[in-house]
């Protein structure tokens, strides 16, 4: 009889992570693990370092001058900040979707095709565009107008186009920074449903201000808050299964936040 390996696989791990903007320590003491093919949400009040932490996972922080880290972030066990690691390569494998949908000023087709091309794709482009749009639950809505501008789509459709673009280069992880906060409620729910389908093939980490979204859509939740060490650094104060965070959190600060008693 074949034994199935049921050991949990963690795609991303942080080890005593600190993130600095210049000399300002924005994030401190984060030790968390992101499980493969699960959705991990990062929630917390404004200014506690959620987006900073998210951007560290694919070295997007480095686009801001003066950022640095201490500690480690590993991706499949490899230190992504090691000297010989190319940050561009990291961003192929750990993709990102932003709060404001940002399709290129190109056709729907070219948004995906151009992205794939510059990442070295040489296969059947029509098939890749179709499969990416299908995976992003957008194909049926745009299949008859692939040569129209990506900017002609609604906000929700534009965001799904950005997701299609991100997954066309086959990353392992998709980071989402408040992907639905600029969208109407129906478009928001469509993105959340899409996330449930995407997690079969990808690992997702999402930052959200919307607690109900985190509760509905994620498997695990990291609660971030200022650490209270007088330095205004954010840290993860609790990390657990989403069900637990929203029904029986262990930390009183988490309880206060999710019940709206915080502040």
């Amino acid at each position: 009889m074949t034994t199935i390996n049921t050991e949990t696989k963690y795609v991303l791990e942080t080890h005593d992570l600190e993130i600095y903007y210049g000399t300002f320590k924005a994030v401190t003491d984060v030790n968390m693990k992101v499980e493969e093919n699960k959705i991990t949400a990062i929630i917390g009040p404004s200014g506690c370092g959620k987006s900073t932490l998210l951007r560290a996972f694919n070295r997007m922080n480095e686009l801001y001058a003066g950022t640095s880290i201490k500690g480690k972030i590993t991706f499949n066990g490899e230190d992504i900040y090691a000297k010989d690691v190319d940050p561009v390569e990291v961003r192929y494998r750990i993709g990102m979707v932003f709060q404001k949908p940002n399709p290129f000023p190109k056709s729907i087709y070219e948004n995906i095709a151009w992205t794939a091309r510059i990442h070295g794709f040489r296969g059947n482009m029509d098939e890749l565009v179709e499969s990416s749009l299908r995976q992003a639950a957008l194909w049926d809505e745009v299949k008859d107008k692939l040569h129209q501008s990506g900017l002609s789509l609604s906000g929700g459709q534009q965001q799904r186009l950005c997701i299609a673009r991100a997954i066309s280069i086959k990353p392992e992880v998709i980071l989402m920074d408040e992907p639905a906060s600029a969208l109407d409620p129906i478009a928001t729910l469509k993105i959340e449903e899409l996330m449930q389908e995407l997690k079969r093939d990808y690992t997702i980490v999402i930052v959200t201000h919307n607690m109900q979204q985190a509760a509905r859509a994620s498997d695990y939740t990291a609660m971030m808050m200022l650490s209270g060490n007088g330095e205004r650094s954010g840290t993860v104060i609790e990390f657990d299964e989403t069900n637990r965070i929203f029904t029986r959190p262990k930390d009183k600060r988490t309880e206060d936040y999710v019940t709206g008693r915080f502040g």
Partner: protein, 231 residues
């Protein structure tokens, strides 16, 4: 204060649960008193008044549904609202037990009581008192009281067993008393079940405060454990 509106709604719900609880307590004590005095008119009135208990239960349930839909309760708030849903359901059933006693009083018609009621009112007093204290514990989230209260159900069970034995003695001595004995056994059964439901309310109070949902063990459990061991 953050969530001032929600807090005051929660307080309103708790107050309403206490009102419902006191309606049920009164219904129980009044129904037993009416039985003791063979006051059929009072029994008929109490039978109809059960509708008020049901109405109050549905009012609270509706309020809870609205709060769940509009306030997105999480963690403690969620446990509180979900548990209150269960508790009012228990209270409604307890009200039905009181109604059942009134029903028996009415159906007995002209027949006299088989014996003066002594243990039956004791059971009712104990049950009503336990209910009162369990609801105070619920409102105050008093886990200690909630965990200790269920054991007092043993007293109610002991009274039931006493009544049972006594009624069996009557039946054996004179089989013609069987109908009248049966009426009283049903009354005692309702009172025994009334007290049992207090345990359920206590379990919910513990859950609200701690997040742990489990049965609070009673002597019944120990009795059956022993029975199974002896086999």
């Amino acid at each position: 204060m953050v969530r001032k509106t929600f807090e005051s709604e929660i307080q309103q719900v708790k107050d309403d649960v206490l009102v419902l609880g006191s309606m049920v307590e009164k219904a129980l004590l009044d129904s037993v008193e009416a039985l003791k005095k063979r006051d059929i008119k009072a029994a008929e009135r109490l039978f109809q008044e059960d509708k008020e208990i049901n109405k109050k239960r549905f009012e609270i349930e509706n309020h809870l549904m609205v709060l769940i839909a509009t306030q997105q309760p999480m963690a403690h708030d969620l446990r509180l609202l979900a548990s209150t849903m269960e508790i009012i359901s228990e209270l409604e059933r307890m009200g039905d037990y009181a109604k059942g006693i009134s029903n028996i009083n009415i159906r007995m018609g002209d027949t006299t009581l088989l014996k003066p009621l002594i243990d039956v009112p004791r059971m009712a007093q104990k049950g009503a008192d336990m209910l009162h204290r369990s609801l105070t514990a619920f409102v105050n989230e008093d886990v200690e009281t909630a965990k200790k209260l269920p054991i007092e159900d043993d007293e109610v069970d002991a009274l039931y067993n006493q009544i049972y034995r006594e009624l069996m003695t009557f039946i054996i001595a004179d089989p013609k008393t069987i109908e009248r004995a049966n009426w009283l056994l049903w009354v005692a059964h309702n009172l025994e079940r009334f007290a049992d439901r207090v345990t359920n309310i206590c379990e919910r109070t513990v859950f609200i405060a701690t997040g742990e949902l489990s049965e609070i063990k009673s002597s019944d459990d120990e009795f059956w454990k022993q029975q199974n061991q002896e086999k």
